[in-house]
């Protein structure tokens, strides 16, 4: 039986559902020092004086570090391939504080009470500076957030710290102004998406200790162990050879843990004291001092001819990276590169952006990574175009959508080898009953039911950059152990990659044991982000299995005394095609452990020149209260083309989960600050995420294309699934009450105000 396209149980499933101690905090040594941070009360300030004397007197306090105790060389916390596009703009502790919560001091002690007491006793005198809080006014503001001389940008991303500019670019294809000026129908609108928290249930956490050889061991809930090794070396100023990073089970990441939010603090404590140390972020700290989605304001101009063919798209994005530039230069690119190419008849486009520093918490990576923001803007603009033309928003997509075989100028000129977007649209339409329900129905009880649509794409890894390596070896009795550097963070890649290996090696999934990730032992992988695991690491598995099969065949040919061309493997045995003479894999494997000099193992790496896009069509049915403007989600249909589905359960649940997160973003998630830059929404009380009562019914289906460059035809699925809810729900609201919501989230107040303004 094939191992692909099956609902295989996750290898760690039973351990997780029975509550086994497998997460970072569960496995930490009991004698770890408790590490906590003193956060800045000001959005922008300089430390004039800091007195730690009284705090050091608290019994049980082991060390207190301030900016005077840490290296003065800047680095980035972004988990990206070197040379990172994100600027080197951080210190472990800095004299200048750039947002409320920015670390002022690190305190480590024997227990939490002592540490809390010491935190209270640290006396700081601040020189309070004017903060820059409006990202629309940040560029060339008189206040410079990173005036320091040793600020550094490693990559040509158009950054200029003297202008509060983290990145800037403009690309144009064809003459977009000319093309749009010739169009019958033009839409020009600005859309605003807010910063959102990932809210993985396990907050940021790390413990560190020194091993037998005096090396720094860092066990962390991270998506990017190999990048963390480099980041720690940069931050502490020690050789990478002195660091080992281990990833246990992770309680969710969604991109948050693609930034080394928590690692540097216990690491420097352990390095200075020689003692084990652990930091566990409270939920509040996870909200106030972490790495949320970039807030963006996106201006879209589109032009269509009288039939509704979209001929030109012009997108400009202003992105708010906050106090530091983690993922600033890269997230913004996706707002155009993953939204414009969906429209296959576009003759000209322009995409420009600026990414600016402000005095709020640094943004980072969150599932969707800029594509989500761009999707809301461009899909909303297309919906507004359809409305203006009095055309069905499904119809306008049907006549404009990109098709398999097309070259996509707005997607790095890649050719689209696999695309079932048309089938996704047809299926979604049938599932939700679009033709019956569009645009809306008055329920007669003060409520209106209406439907809305959006479509989206993402990538599968970062082309030419992401690198995955896999090692597989044959053990006694012929079972395989596979080492991967990709990080399973609940996504199930330890299982889905084993399915790919089992398919390649004609064996059962149970016959493949998987281990990852320990930077000392695992083969290199950039990590689990950018929707890379199934496609990039999956391809590395295929390549490694092919190499291993060759080695097994070579061993078989030696044992069976024939040329290797005459040898075949069927999973159980190695046999001669000419005589049928065979040796079981078990005997071969056991034999290889005695007097053998041919290692039955293989390691291969893979990197892709292309990043084939998966697609989703999302349709929402909502119920709007005409009295209050309240929007309830009734039904959400998502139809996905992720190429071949590797694990049917995991793909479905990833989709349902991504849609639920997208619903939160659409309807209520919003990081709010006071006018002084203090975060208001710093708990689950104020920052509400969807509960099981809020998501309506989420229904998912797959319409698979076959991606010729993917492992068994697979593309990615992790991120693309979060993008459609905001524009689809906004569209449903418009179709119900003729209000265009252009700023997320779609709250009752905004809908109510819109209903009363436009009347």
């Amino acid at each position: 039986m094939s191992a692909i396209d099956q609902p295989v149980r996750k290898k760690d499933a039973m351990a997780l559902v029975t509550g086994k101690p497998v997460y970072t905090q569960d496995i930490a040594p009991k004698d770890c020092l408790v590490v906590k941070l003193l956060g800045s009360p000001h959005a922008h300030a300089l430390i004039k004086e800091i007195d730690i004397g009284p705090a050091l007197q608290v019994p049980g306090i082991e060390c207190i570090l301030t900016y005077k105790d840490v290296p003065d060389s800047r680095f980035t916390l972004a988990g990206q391939t070197y040379p990172e596009p994100s600027p080197y703009d951080r210190l472990i502790l800095d004299q200048r504080l750039r947002y409320v919560g920015d670390a002022v001091a690190i305190v480590a002690g024997e227990n939490e009470k002592a540490v809390e007491e010491a935190l209270d006793l640290i006396k700081v005198q601040y020189e309070v500076l004017q903060p820059v809080l409006d990202f629309r006014r940040a560029l060339d503001h008189e206040v410079i957030i990173h005036p320091e001389e040793n600020w550094k940008s490693l990559a040509p991303v158009g950054a200029d710290n003297r202008r509060n500019l983290c990145a800037s670019e403009e690309v144009e294809y064809g003459d977009v102004d000319q093309v749009i000026s010739e169009c019958e129908w033009i839409i020009e609108q600005t859309y605003h998406t807010k910063a959102n928290q990932q809210v993985m249930m396990e907050t940021f956490r790390t413990f560190t200790h020194l091993d037998t050889f005096g090396r720094l061991v860092c066990v962390s809930s991270t998506q990017v162990p190999f990048h963390v090794r480099r980041i720690l070396a940069n931050a502490i100023g020690i050789p990478k050879s002195q660091i080992r990073v281990i990833k246990p089970r992770i309680g969710g990441g969604f991109g948050a843990k693609q930034t080394a939010v928590s690692e540097i603090y216990p690491a420097i404590v352990t390095w200075k004291t020689g003692k084990p140390a652990m930091i566990i972020y409270t939920r509040r700290e996870s909200f106030t001092s972490s790495s949320p989605r970039h807030e963006m304001e996106i201006r879209v101009r589109l032009g269509a001819d009288k039939e509704g063919i979209i001929r030109g798209i012009d997108v400009y994005t202003l992105s708010n990276t906050g106090a530091y530039g983690e993922h600033g230069p890269t997230t913004v690119g996706l707002s155009g590169h993953k939204s414009i190419p969906l429209y296959g008849k576009v003759e000209a486009f322009r995409f420009g952006y600026d990414v600016v520093y402000t005095n709020v918490m640094s943004a980072g990576a969150y599932r969707g990574y800029g594509a989500t923001q761009g999707c809301f803007a461009v899909e909303s603009a297309v919906n507004e175009l359809a409305a203006k033309m009095q055309m069905d928003p499904v119809r306008i997509r049907e006549i404009n959508m990109v098709r398999q075989g097309q070259v996509m100028p707005a997607y790095y000129g890649e050719k689209l080898n696999s695309c079932a977007l048309d089938r996704c649209m047809a299926k979604a339409k049938a599932m939700i009953g679009w033709d019956d329900k569009y645009p809306c129905k008055d329920m007669g009880n003060g409520k209106i039911r209406s439907v809305g649509v959006a479509m989206t794409m993402q990538g599968s890894g970062i082309s030419g950059v992401d690198t995955a390596s896999v090692s597989i070896k044959v053990n006694d009795d012929g079972f395989y152990s596979m080492s991967i550097g990709a990080t399973d963070m609940g996504t199930g890649c330890d299982t889905s990659l084993a399915q790919i290996a089992a398919e390649c090696l004609d064996c059962s999934v149970e016959n493949i044991i998987v281990s990852g990730v320990d930077t000392d032992a695992s083969p290199y992988d950039t990590g689990s982000y950018a929707s890379s695991t199934a496609y990039v690491t999956g391809n590395a598995v295929v390549k490694t299995c092919a190499a291993l099969r060759q080695r097994i065949k070579a061993e078989g040919s030696a044992q069976l005394g024939c040329p290797v061309e005459d040898i075949e493997i069927d999973g159980e045995k190695v046999y001669r095609v000419d005589t049928d003479e065979s040796i079981s894999l078990k005997d071969l494997a056991n034999g290889a452990m005695c007097g053998n000099s041919n290692a039955l193992s293989a390691t291969e790496s893979f990197s892709s020149p292309v990043s084939p896009p998966p697609f989703v069509v999302g349709m929402a049915e909502v119920e709007i209260d005409k009295e209050t403007g309240k929007v309830d989600l009734i039904d959400y249909v998502a139809v996905v083309d992720c190429g071949t589905v590797i694990n049917t359960n995991l793909a479905r649940v990833q989709t349902e989960g991504g849609i639920a997160q997208g619903i939160g973003m659409a309807l209520y998630e919003d990081i709010k600050y006071t006018e002084k830059g203090q975060m208001v929404s710093n708990s689950l009380m104020q920052y509400k995420i969807p509960s099981r009562l809020d998501v309506g019914t989420i229904r998912v289906a797959f319409e698979s294309s076959y991606e010729p460059t993917g492992p068994f035809g697979a593309k990615s699925i992790g991120e693309v699934v979060i993008n459609t809810p905001s524009p689809a729900i906004a569209n449903a609201v418009y179709n119900g009450v003729h209000v265009n919501i252009r700023e997320l989230p779609i709250t009752a107040e905004k809908v109510y105000m819109g209903m009363h303004k436009e009347k």
Binding site: A13, V653, I689
Partner: protein, 157 residues
């Protein structure tokens, strides 16, 4: 102060600080299945059974459990495995960090509600947040599990 707790069926006597939270008491005593996801009683990750009723151990003082029975998944392994295998078959645990709290609540719900509707299930479990799954797979697992339990009951009678 000194407290006596029946933890997972075994009696424990411990000297504790009066303000010690039950969640910390439990984790200090090896019950690592109990997770913390917030400080505001919003997530349900820390759910345990106190005298057979689900409580949030993050907002319960350990002292309140003095003389009482507390169960965590460490003491409910067969039950966790039974329901958990339905979760596993749906892929309803992704990161799994919310799973122990959910399993506790489902075991309690099973005792309290007879033949619950989808809406009643969602209502009963609304305090258990999950950021990974979107909840649908959990609902599928719960319904299949309750159906099977119901069928077994029926056969027995």
């Amino acid at each position: 102060m000194i407290i006596n707790i029946w933890l997972n069926g075994r009696q424990l006597t411990r000297e504790i600080e009066a303000d010690l939270l039950l969640i910390d008491f439990l984790r200090n005593n090896g019950c690592y299945s109990v997770k913390r996801g917030c400080e505001t009683s919003n997530c349900g990750l820390c759910s345990v059974l106190l005298e057979d009723k689900p409580v949030l151990s993050c907002s319960t003082l350990a002292a309140r459990a003095d003389g009482k029975h507390v169960y965590t998944l460490e003491g409910l392994q067969p039950q966790a495995e039974e329901f958990g295998s339905f979760m596993a078959d749906q892929g309803a645990e992704q990161c799994g960090f919310c799973s122990p709290g959910l399993v506790i609540s489902v075991l309690a719900m099973e005792k309290e509600l007879n033949n619950p509707s989808d809406e009643e299930i969602k209502e009963y479990l609304s305090g258990s947040l999950c950021r990974c799954s979107g909840y649908m797979s959990q609902l599928r697992a719960i319904k299949l599990y309750l159906d099977r339990k119901g069928a077994q009951e029926y056969e027995r009678n």
